[in-house]
Amino acid sequence: MIKSLDPRVNRAAIEEENSIEPLKDLDQWETYEVFHQKRRGDQHMHVGIVHAPNAEMALIFGKEQFGRRGLSVNIWVVKTRDVFTTDYEDSDIFETVPEKQYREAGGYKVMDKINKFKKGL
């Protein structure tokens, strides 16, 4: 038996040479992506993952892992394998023409035209 300064270890009566079977695949379950909302009215944000055997447990672990300081009011979880993503390798899909003023409010200067029109009256 392990003789320890830790009374909990002594109570557990642990053999000194306690070699065990290695953990098999999925021993630690699959992963869920966790999203939390800090305050009502905020958007949910991705905060990380938990390993869990089902969605209910993922919510419990998600709350314990990411919400234990009272910084969340709501949590979503979704299986990692159910998330579809774009690829960083295809980042060029986000590239666009350099001139995009036409979809910004600042791209439209009506006062010049109005003032010119008023002068002409």
């Binding site: 300064l5 065990i20 953990l23 699959e30 234990r68 690829d87």
Partner: protein, 328 residues
């Protein structure tokens, strides 16, 4: 809480880049030089992946094993408030391990593989946790000074290049600031208390000073290998620089409390550098290779936890589970 990851200095720098596509390597290095982060599915050199897995995994193991010497004192913490605080701190440490294991998983090593490597002794963890916490004061010194060392390390690494590791560290550093204040409060309470309390905390500090000086690891060999890891922002500061930063921040605070450190050569020289007796690196090697007072116990406890919890994990598993590497 954390110990510095041990990067094998015998790896030849030339071997590091063998077989890498020069164009992809150039793009990768340019991205890091621009201050952009690397994300899990990006192309990365094999050596970058290998060193990060080793580093993040060891960091995760240190959090798990580090919970053991402190957890010892939960049942015997002096008073309800201290007990609550210590439980919260230990829970945080285990939570940090979860965050770190997740970050390492994004690089392709499963959590099962990491746990297997820990419990068979293949992976290392921070050497300081191979020493026992004899008294409540030891737990207080750990919470203050080991966490202080950890924060210096983690703040540096949070500016590294790998996105998932940086995100995990940002979250960890926020929580560590509570640990540090909690530890300082505990030490101050003892140091400003009765003669018996002062005696306890002084004895613990004297015991922990050599492991604390070991904490950041031996001086880095200036090699091409280290240079490349620093260029890739895997390693963010030399071990000696971090040790200097630690001494500069904490030795004055220790002396402020009228406590003494067991090194007659410890002083700040005129250039502002701390001088100290070179730590016993043979002892460090002996302990990291299994010869410390608690190595066998730590791993036996960890194996025991895995073994006795196994049936619960198996009972909860469902036939349609399928593992996929986490996204971020």
């Amino acid at each position: 809480m954390y110990g510095n990851a041990y990067i094998d200095p015998n790896d030849k720098a030339a071997m590091m880049l063998a077989g890498e596509d020069p164009q992809k390597l150039a793009e990768f290095e340019a991205r890091i030089a621009r201050g952009e982060k690397i994300e899990p599915k990006d192309w990365m050199p094999k050596e970058y992946r290998k060193q990060l897995i080793r580093m993040i995994e060891q960091h995760g193991h240190s959090e798990i094993i580090g919970a053991l010497p402190e957890g010892t004192w939960i049942t015997r913490a002096p008073g309800f408030k201290r007990k609550l605080a210590l439980m919260a701190k230990v829970q945080d440490e285990v939570g940090h391990a979860q965050l770190l294991y997740s970050a390492a998983e994004t690089l392709g090593k499963s959590r099962e593989a990491m746990i297997n490597d820990l419990i068979t002794g293949k992976s290392k963890y921070s050497n300081v946790f191979n020493y026992p916490a004899y008294t409540w004061a030891d737990a207080c010194i750990i919470a203050w000074l080991i966490d202080a060392g950890a924060i210096i390390n983690q703040v540096a690494n949070a500016k590294g290049s790998y996105g998932p590791y940086c995100r995990a560290l940002d979250r960890i550093c926020t929580e560590e600031s509570f640990h540090l204040k909690y530890g300082h409060d505990n030490v101050v309470t003892l140091a400003t208390g009765t003669p018996k309390q002062r005696e306890l905390v002084q004895a613990a500090l004297t015991r922990w000073w050599p492991p604390i000086m070991h904490f950041f690891g031996p001086s880095d060999k200036i090699s091409n290998h280290t240079e490349i890891l620093m260029k890739w922002k895997v390693k963010m500061a030399t071990n000696d620089d971090m040790r200097q930063q630690f001494l500069n921040m904490y030795v004055p605070k220790i002396w402020d409390l009228g406590l003494t450190l067991p090194d007659p050569n410890l002083k700040k020289n005129e250039e502002g550098k701390w001088e100290y007796t070179e730590p016993d690196w043979e002892e460090f090697k002996r302990v990291i290779n299994g010869g410390g007072p608690c190595n066998a116990e730590r791993l036996a406890v960890r194996r025991n936890a895995e073994e006795r919890g196994r049936w619960v994990r198996e009972a909860l598993n469902t036939a349609d589970s399928k593992y996929m590497v986490p996204l971020a």
